[in-house]
């Protein structure tokens, strides 16, 4: 599908950048004229993926998080969030709702469940020791209704 617009971001995996990442994405996605609900869905999904990279991918320290977002034809937005951190040994298990390796009771283990519920498609690629990339895709309905 033809790429109509794209942007790339990279930033250190500091938790203060969670808000920056979702705000930047929402500014980029504004061109698609999403509804408030669609925008909230995208921001939440991006926030989950970036938080995963910070909390899990770079659990040992600070690394770089890369975001590559594209707007395709037919109001499709594709956002890839990538880290070069520790990687996930068992992606299927990591994506199970409530599975978490975080501190007891403070991480809900719902990050991937939220991404899957709020986006049309979620693809996770990971290699231990190499890093993880999460690709989020969504078709924005508001303009399609014109």
């Amino acid at each position: 599908m033809k790429v109509l617009n794209e942007m790339k971001l990279s930033f250190p995996s500091r938790s203060a950048n969670e808000a920056f990442a979702r705000t930047a994405l929402s500014a980029f996605a504004a061109a698609l004229d999403p509804t408030i609900e669609e925008l909230a869905d995208m921001k939440t999904a991006v926030s989950e993926a970036v938080t995963n990279a910070i909390v899990h991918g770079y659990r040992e320290g600070i690394g770089t998080i890369y975001i590559h977002a594209k707007i395709l034809e037919k109001n499709r937005i594709v956002v890839r969030i990538r880290d070069t951190g520790c990687g996930i040994e068992n992606v299927k298990q990591a994506m199970e709702p409530l599975y978490t390796t975080g501190p007891a009771g403070e991480r809900s283990g719902l990050g991937f469940a939220v991404m899957e519920a709020f986006m049309d498609k979620v693809t996770v690629r990971s290699r231990v020791g190499r890093g993880t990339s999460v690709t989020l895709e969504k078709t924005i309905q508001s303009k399609g209704a014109e």
């Binding site: 609900e37 910070i54 469940a113």
Partner: protein
């Protein structure tokens, strides 16, 4: 992350504000827990009226406080979650551990304050 906390009788109310994510959840957790452990209330009210964004870190925040207050058989109430936040809560099944209350906007909303200034 701004937070207003107050205790009355057997109830602690935490008015959450702004965006709740992993970055801000830690300090919220500490402040609320400090109050909970001191007061040991029957009910913790988490008011989401002024929350503009929440991801699953907010779910972890509610679940963790629920776990704490259960130590002395207390309960958690969630008040006034905006629609986008209710969506995350519903997905997580938070209604199984906390009652969710929506009420009409209280007096003194921004709209009314603006009108009062005019």
């Amino acid at each position: 992350m701004p937070l207003k906390l107050h205790a009355e009788k057997n109830r602690v109310t935490a008015c959450l504000m702004g965006e709740i994510d992993h970055h801000g959840a830690g300090s919220l957790r500490e402040e609320i827990d400090e109050m909970l452990k001191r007061v040991r209330p029957d009910i913790l009210v988490l008011d989401f009226r002024d929350v503009t964004f929440m991801d699953s870190s907010g779910i972890g925040l509610v679940m963790g406080r629920y776990r704490l207050i259960r130590e002395w058989d207390g309960a958690v109430e969630i008040h006034n979650p905006p629609p986008s936040i209710k969506k995350v809560m519903r997905l997580a099944g938070l209604d199984r551990i906390a009652s969710i209350h929506s009420s009409p906007p209280k007096s003194g909303t921004n709209q009314e304050k603006m009108e009062a200034r005019v």
